[in-house]
Amino acid sequence: MAGRSLSRKWLAALVPAVPYLWLGVFFLVPFLIVLKISLSDTAVAQPPYKPVFDWNDIVGFFSQLDVENFELLVGDDLYLRATLSSVRIAAISTILLLLVGFPIAYGMARAPERHRSLLVALVILPFWTSFLIRIYAWIAILKPEGLLTQTLMGLGLISEPLNILNTETAVYIGIVYAYLPFMVLPLYATLEKMDDTLLEAALDLGSTPWRSFWTITVPLAMPGIIAGSLLCFIPAVGEFVIPDLLGGSETLMIGRQLWSEFFSNRDWPLASAVAILLLIILVMPIVIYRDVEARRLETER
């Protein structure tokens, strides 16, 4: 019996241990390696960096690490411009997502209750279809001889083909399209819980609909606005596929920069340094998010 309870305890300990170990090996350790390689130098070798870790010469190994790559990143204004432009594109996209997503979430929250779960499912469904394919679909629409130009010319609204593809506008359209569910769902979750009698009371007391929207609806929806904005902003900063397929060569983004350092220039240490830089940019909003979440959970209690 003692043996059985011991093996049971052992089994119980396995439940957290197995996924913990997995993430430690495949998530945490790789990060430390990125950090280490960002401090290394490029080498014409396999693997293309040095120093390579060696148990027998630990002192020599550490003495060869330096911050050269980071000096290069700070010194070369290409990376500064790419960073600023990523943050700017992600911020503008997030504002556009709020403008597009809010009316949709609001309409969903006001729809009859029996239709709401269907509406939620309809917002989630595109998320399940391939991201790459959804972006690909926009190439056919935005091309100069594409469907948007054809439609607008057919309606007589424009006389010249539109040149949207390979511009920053196309990147905004792509990000708004791909991330819309991430904005709509958190907004809907807060708007759905909102008490309508508050709005009625405001209207009864003579407030205009516009004013009650800003003084009641927006503050009450704030947790959803913040959650949705961060869910869109964070991945948008590091986006690669959308600027690569829809943006032009002048659309600078840090994720794209990392990709080309790695695949075109084969500069692994520099690519790692870009990854660390990107992480540092993203830690800020994540810390803010955690703080807001913690405060929200406290007020709910």
């Binding site: 049971r8 089994l11 119980a12 439940v15 957290p16 996924p19 913990y20 997995w22 993430l23 495949f26 998530f27 945490l28 790789p30 990060f31 390696i33 990125v34 693997p47 597009v100 009316p103 949709i104 609001y106 309409g107 006001r110 729809a111 009859p112 509406l119 499912a121 309809l122 917002v123 469904l125 399940w128 391939s130 991201f131 690909y136 679909a137 190439i139 056919a140 594409g146 469907l147 399209y177 819309l180 709509v184 309508d196 009698t197 964070i234 991945p235 900063v237 590091g238 690669f240 596929v241 397929l245 994720g255 790695f262 695949f263 692994w268 690519a271 790692s272 990854a275 990107l278 993203l282």
Partner: protein, 267 residues
């Protein structure tokens, strides 16, 4: 209290859903286009589907992708369910904050970072890049999504059922298989499907970790798209959209049924 939809609400819903669905719909429609020019309609034809199935490189890529998706989704379902149990049933354990952080981080982390870090890890331990490295990378990413899906179910369900089984003398393992597992099964299926589609869809992480003989469908599609639109890719996309739509419908029906059954039993 009755809520009425204003004209503004209806308009924003109609435009919102049109925006979400029109591009996908157009892609499916144009996959039946007879013309080689992707954006000019030249009559109805299924020729690109035929061409797609005769395209050996694309078919090979599809087969690799399917195998990777099945393997990684299976592994990540087990790992994700264990992680969800650890987070909901184990209270505070050593390093819980780190554990939660590692669950949420891969989901918001830009894919370029996850892809690069895993690749550097595989190079450092001397594992040759190929089928296995992509599968392991996908497992790591998708297990976090499975954890969140299963965890949300575990948090809402009635603990008294588990307690009753234990009070009646069922050992923990037996309680899990007889009570907990059947109750959380729909969320495990949903987690598996989510992991499967995420793996099927991933371009960035697969590009970093792939090697000879392990070209996945998104990598193949991406390299073709860079050269220009191709009607065969339209056909491949339409098939993928069809599979996913069917999968989601089946999953919804299954969840609805099991929810209805659970309700009947509790009355």
């Amino acid at each position: 209290m009755t809520r009425r939809l204003s004209l503004f609400n209806v308009t924003s819903l109609v435009f919102g859903f049109a925006f979400l669905y029109l591009p996908i719909l157009l892609l499916v429609v144009y996959s039946f286009n007879a013309s080689r020019l992707v954006t000019v309609w030249g009559g109805f034809s299924t020729q690109w589907y035929g061409a797609l199935f005769r395209n050996e490189a694309l078919m090979e890529a599809a087969w690799v992708t399917l195998r990777i998706a099945l393997l990684s989704a299976g592994l990540s379902t087990v790992l994700g369910t264990l992680a969800a149990l650890a987070l909901t049933r184990y209270g505070r354990f050593l390093g819980r904050t780190l554990f939660t952080g590692m669950i949420y981080a891969p989901m918001v982390m830009p894919e370029v970072i996850t892809g690069l870090s895993l690749l550097l890890f595989f190079v450092a331990i001397g594992l040759d890049r190929g089928f296995w490295t992509v599968a392991l990378a996908h497992t790591t990413l998708t297990m976090c999504f499975v954890t969140v899906v299963v965890q949300s179910r575990l948090m809402t369900f009635d603990r008294s059922l588990e307690e009753a089984a234990m009070d009646l003398g069922a050992p923990p393992l037996r309680t899990f298989f007889a009570v907990t597992l059947p109750l959380i099964a729909p969320s495990i299926v949903a987690g598996f499907l989510l992991a499967f589609t995420l793996s099927l869809d991933d371009l960035v992480i697969a590009s970093f970790n792939t090697g000879p003989g392990a070209t996945t469908l998104p990598i193949k599609i991406y390299s073709q798209v860079r050269l220009g639109l191709s009607p065969e890719v339209n056909a491949a996309s339409a098939i993928l959209i069809g599979i996913v739509t069917l999968g989601v419908i089946v999953a919804t029906v299954l969840t609805k049924r099991s929810a209805a059954r659970a309700q009947r039993q509790s009355h």
